[in-house]
Symmetry: C2
Subunit: 132 residues, 2 copies
């Protein structure tokens, strides 16, 4: 345990946690990254470019409104490109940028962790529930 | 680009994306991990054990209801331990388990990525907004 007083510990935490303050740009970015739809779009596009309609089919449970908003935010953040081809009807293709690919590598670890540890967590839940 | 037809690509994607289906346990776990309060609690506890009141002060913008619910879920998932000491008033301490520490290592990369790339994203946003 640290030898600081509680007040010192709080002060230090407050300084070092600036990235987590609500007003900090990186906290706002963390809010956006902590969005399962972003994670799922990144994973889908990591497999190759996708049309809007393909993403809508591949990502279970996403509404059209949510997918459109997620893609627009990701385009604005420089994570995906949106290419419109003037066919009839219009074709819209999405692809990862280098920045998006970089983030996808990080988020892949989160997905891998979830798949590797889901059994541990199910056991923990059963134990917790049996104690209640 | 793959030589599969669009239909084959969708079928393949559907099989391989099982982890992302709404009904899959690992998808539900991903939902839980994609919660910024979980990330922030992990980061706070990575610095050392914390009392409930310390977490409430360190994590900006979290409501008491949200913090209580987040900690209860994390205890149930086996990520944190909750130790009650019968002082007056009662003292409640939270600490990471090995499982929680393992997840924290993964989520630290997400936080690091956000801090490293926030400038790139701010530039992308300005460019996007100037094109609209």
């Amino acid at each position: 345990m640290p030898t600081m007083t509680a007040a010192q510990r709080r002060d230090q935490a407050k300084r070092e946690y600036d990235a987590f303050l609500a007003a900090c740009p990186s906290r706002r970015l963390l809010d956006r990254l902590s969005d399962k739809w972003v994670t799922l779009v990144l994973a889908a596009l990591a497999r190759g470019d996708r049309r809007y309609s393909e993403l809508a089919r591949e990502i279970a449970g996403v509404s059209q409104k949510m997918l459109t908003q997620t893609l627009r935010n990701m385009e604005r953040d420089g994570m995906v490109t949106r290419t419109v081809t003037p066919t009839v009807p219009v074709t819209v293709d999405y692809a990862l940028t280098d920045l998006g690919r970089s983030l996808q590598g990080v988020m892949q670890h989160v997905k891998d962790w979830a798949e590797a540890h889901i059994d541990d967590i199910e056991v923990a839940r059963e134990e917790y529930d049996s104690r209640q």
